[in-house]
Symmetry: C2
Subunit: 430 residues, 2 copies
C-alpha cells in the first residue's frame, strides 16, 4: 500500500501504486472520470479512462458517491494539469463501501449543523489542516521541554479540594467524597520542582465558565512548566523561547497546511525573541485616550487585550498586574508590592492572551497572609504550604493554552475548530 | 548555574561551579562535613573543610537540616572515594531556607503515611527514578507515533452519553445537562481515521471501579492508536513494535534510574518482535491442569493473566477471546464468530495485561446487531454508527495503559508509585 503523500513528494513517479482511501469528489468529461481521492496522508487526482479499463470498473466509478471508501490500483505520474502536479491513472478500482448521501456538501452550512456533524466535518481539508497543525504545536511543546532538561510530571485531573471556589469547577461524586476537575496543574508541578528542578505537566483542564466567547472552551489542553530557582526574568525568557520554537516548527513542517487555511505566514516569520513588554500600568495609561478607558486596579478584558495585541508584530508581554486582581500565589514585586511579578503573553494580530505566568511566592508567611487576604480555605492548601516549609526556593512558571496558540497560528475566528471534539456550554455532542 | 548531571558526566572537572539545590543528608568526620546535595538533575557529594572555609560557612553547614535549600560554590573534581565518582569542594555556602524537620526520614514508613506526604515523598531517589522513567515511556510513545506517520487527535474527556452504562463512570453536572468522564478515547479516534488514516489519542482516562488491587488507578493515562485499513495482524505488529521501542528507549536513556530501582535489565533486553501468541481457547486448555481451571466463555482474571505472563520471557498476546465477553465493537472472527479478532498483551514476569485491542466491526448491520445483543442504548451511538454509513473501512486499534507499562518496566509491586499523584478509591489527597 502506498501513501498519497509519497506520490505528491515525487517518490513514486512512474510506479504502480495501490491506494486505500475515500472519494472526496468526482467529475466526468467525455470518456474520463476525474476522482479526487483522500487516504489520510493527502489528496490526489486519479483518472479512469473508459477505453482503458474493464467495463465494470468504469461503471463502478460512475456510481461512486462522495466519501465512498475504495481501493485503487494504477500508475502514479507527474502531470502538470493535475491540481497538485501528480495524478494516478487508474487500472483497477474496488469499492469498499458505497457511502450514503454525505450530509456535508459543497454548499455553505451553518455552524450548528457542522458541529452536530463534527465527526464527519473533521474530514474536510480545512479541519484536517487544523488538526495537523494542532498535533505539530503539541509535538513542538513536548520536544522543546524534553530537549531543554524538563521532566514531564503529570498533575492529577481529579482533586479533593475546591481551591479557588466551586463556581467554575466541574464536580463529581468520588465514592464517599466529592472530587473536582482540575483548572490548572500548577500547584502540583510546584511540588515536583524540588525533585526534578525543571518540570512540566501537559493535560486537559476544565472551566465550568458560563462565558460564551470565541476564545473559551470548557475543556482545553494546557502545558504548564515550572522551574526551581527561576525568577520573573527567567520565566519570560522561557516563554519567548518556547513560543518562538513552536512557530518555527509549524512553519518548517506544516507550510502546506497553513496554505490550505490561507494563512499569511509573514507575521509568523517575525516571531522570535525578545518579545516587546509593556507594564499593566502603561497599558492603563495608553487606554486613557481610547474608548476602552479603564481605572487602575481593574482587570483587562478582551478589548484591552486586543488593543495591546495589535500594537506589535510579535507577541507582547503585559507585565506586573495589580497584585489584588491576580492569583494569591503570585510573588508581589519587592520594589512595589501593589503589583505582582507576573506577565500575560498576548499573541499578535488581535488574538490576545495565550500564556499567563508569574514568579511564585516562596515565603511561607507571605503565602499564608495572601491566602488569608484572598479569603481562601487554608485547609485546602495544607500540602501546598508544606512546599514552603521544607526547603522552599524562588520559582516561576506559566500556563499556555494549546488551542489558543492554534487559534492564533492558524488565524481562525473561533476556538471551537482548534480541538477535534470541542466542548462548550452548549456543546457536548458528538 | 551548573547542573549536577553535567558534573557526574565529567563535563566540569576542575571547574568552579555554582549549584542550587537541596540537602539530601549530611555526616561529619573530623573537620570535614560531607553533604549529599540534590539539584533535580542528580545528587553529588560535597565537602566542607573546617580549615578551608570562613567560620560562618562551616557553622551554617553544621546547622543544616535535611531538605534545606541552599546555594553552594566550589570546585568540581573527580574523586574515586565519592559515591558517584565526583565531588564538589565547597568554598562558599548560602542557606536559602533552613527546612523544618522533614517528616520522611531514613526509617521505614507505612504506605499510608508516605501517600499522605506524597508531595514530599516524590523527592526520594526511588520516586525520582520512577518519574523519570514514566516521562521516558511517554516520550517514547509519542516519538514512535509521530515518527511513524500518526497524527495526534485528542479525544474529549467529557462526553454526554454513558455508552457502556454508568456504573463505573464518574459523572458531573454540565450546565443543564450531565456529562461523564471518559473511560476510553477509542470511539472518537475511530472518527478521525477517515481524515488522517493513522491517529492516536493520549490522555487521562477514568474508571470509577471499586476494585482495590495493585494494578488499578481511578485516573490513569492511556495511549490509543487507531489505523484505517489495518486488520488484526497489522494491529499486533504495531503493538510489538511500539512496546519494543519503549523498552529500548528506556534501556538506552534511563539505565541509571533502572539501577536506582535495582531492576534486573536482562529480561527487558529480551523484548523485541515478534511476541509469542496463545489463543484464549489454548489458555483455557492449559489452565485445565492447574488450580485456576476455568470454563470456556468466562473472562480471564488476574491469576490467569499471571499464569500466561510467566510462560515467556517476552510479552505474550492472548488472542481471540469469546465475542460475548468482549466489547460490542470488536470484529467477530469470520471463520468462527464465537471468538473476536482481539488480543490482550500480557507483560512478562507476572505483570499481566498492559494492552487491549482489536479489529473493529466496520459493517453497519453487524454493529447494530451487536449493540442490540449487548442491550446498549442505540441512541448514544448515533454518531458512531454514522462512521459505518459514510465510507466505512476495516480498521483496528488498541489502548495501552501507561502506568501499567511503568509498573512492569520498573518492576514495582504497586501501581500507585507509577504516577506523580495517584488516585485510588481511598486516595484523593494531596
Amino acid at each position: 500500500m502506498a501513501n498519497i503523500s509519497d506520490i505528491l513528494d515525487g517518490k513514486m513517479d512512474g510506479k504502480e501504486v495501490e491506494i486505500k482511501g475515500w472519494l472526496v469528489n468526482k467529475r466526468s468529461s467525455g470518456g474520463v472520470q476525474f476522482l479526487m481521492i483522500r487516504d489520510g496522508t493527502g489528496v490526489i487526482q486519479s483518472t479512469v479512462h473508459k477505453d482503458k479499463v474493464e467495463k465494470n470498473v468504469f461503471d463502478d466509478t460512475d456510481k461512486l458517491t462522495q466519501e465512498s471508501s475504495l481501493i485503487i490500483k494504477g500508475i502514479a505520474n507527474e502531470d502538470k494539469r493535475a491540481p497538485d502536479g501528480y495524478e494516478i491513472k487508474i487500472k483497477d478500482l474496488k469499492v469498499v463501501q458505497l457511502a450514503e448521501e454525505f450530509p456535508i456538501g459543497k454548499k455553505e452550512h451553518g455552524i450548528e449543523f457542522l458541529m452536530e456533524w463534527r465527526h464527519l466535518w473533521l474530514r474536510s481539508p480545512r479541519q484536517i489542516a487544523i488538526m495537523k497543525i494542532r498535533a505539530e504545536v503539541i509535538k513542538a511543546c513536548r520536544d522543546f521541554m524534553d530537549d531543554n532538561g524538563f521532566t514531564l510530571t503529570d498533575s492529577p485531573i481529579l482533586s479533593g479540594s475546591a481551591c479557588e471556589g466551586t463556581s467554575t469547577l466541574f464536580e463529581t461524586p468520588y465514592f464517599s467524597k466529592k472530587a473536582y476537575l482540575t483548572q490548572s496543574g500548577q500547584l502540583y508541578v510546584e511540588a515536583t520542582i524540588a525533585a526534578l528542578k525543571k518540570v512540566y505537566c501537559f493535560g486537559p483542564t476544565f472551566r465550568a465558565e458560563k462565558s460564551k466567547t470565541t476564545r473559551h472552551l470548557t475543556e482545553f489542553w494546557m502545558i504548564e512548566p515550572e522551574v526551581a530557582f527561576a525568577d520573573f526574568e527567567d520565566n519570560l525568557k522561557l516563554q519567548e523561547d518556547l513560543v518562538s520554537y513552536i512557530v518555527k516548527k509549524v512553519l518548517e513542517k506544516r507550510k502546506r497546511e497553513l496554505g490550505v487555511l490561507g494563512r499569511d505566514i509573514k507575521p509568523l516569520q517575525e516571531v522570535e525573541p525578545p518579545f516587546p513588554r509593556v507594564t499593566y500600568t502603561e497599558v492603563i495609561e495608553m487606554l486613557e485616550k481610547t474608548k476602552f478607558k479603564l481605572e487602575w486596579g481593574n482587570d483587562l478584558g478582551a478589548p484591552h487585550e486586543r488593543f495591546v495585541s495589535l500594537k506589535n508584530d510579535k507577541p507582547t508581554f503585559i507585565t506586573k498586574y495589580p497584585t489584588k486582581i491576580k492569583a494569591f500565589y503570585m510573588q508581589p514585586d519587592p520594589k512595589n508590592p501593589d503589583v505582582a511579578l507576573c506577565a500575560d503573553l498576548m499573541a499578535p494580530e488581535g488574538y490576545g492572551e495565550i500564556i499567563g505566568g508569574s514568579q511564585r511566592i516562596h515565603d511561607l508567611k507571605l503565602l499564608e497572609q495572601r491566602i488569608k487576604e484572598c479569603e481562601l480555605p487554608k485547609k485546602a492548601y495544607e500540602w501546598y504550604l508544606d512546599l514552603r516549609k521544607y526547603g522552599t526556593v524562588p520559582h516561576s512558571g506559566f500556563g499556555m493554552g494549546v488551542e489558543r496558540v492554534v487559534l492564533w497560528i492558524c488565524k481562525l475566528k473561533h476556538i471551537r475548530e482548534c480541538i477535534p471534539f470541542p466542548r462548550t456550554i452548549t456543546r457536548l455532542y458528538p
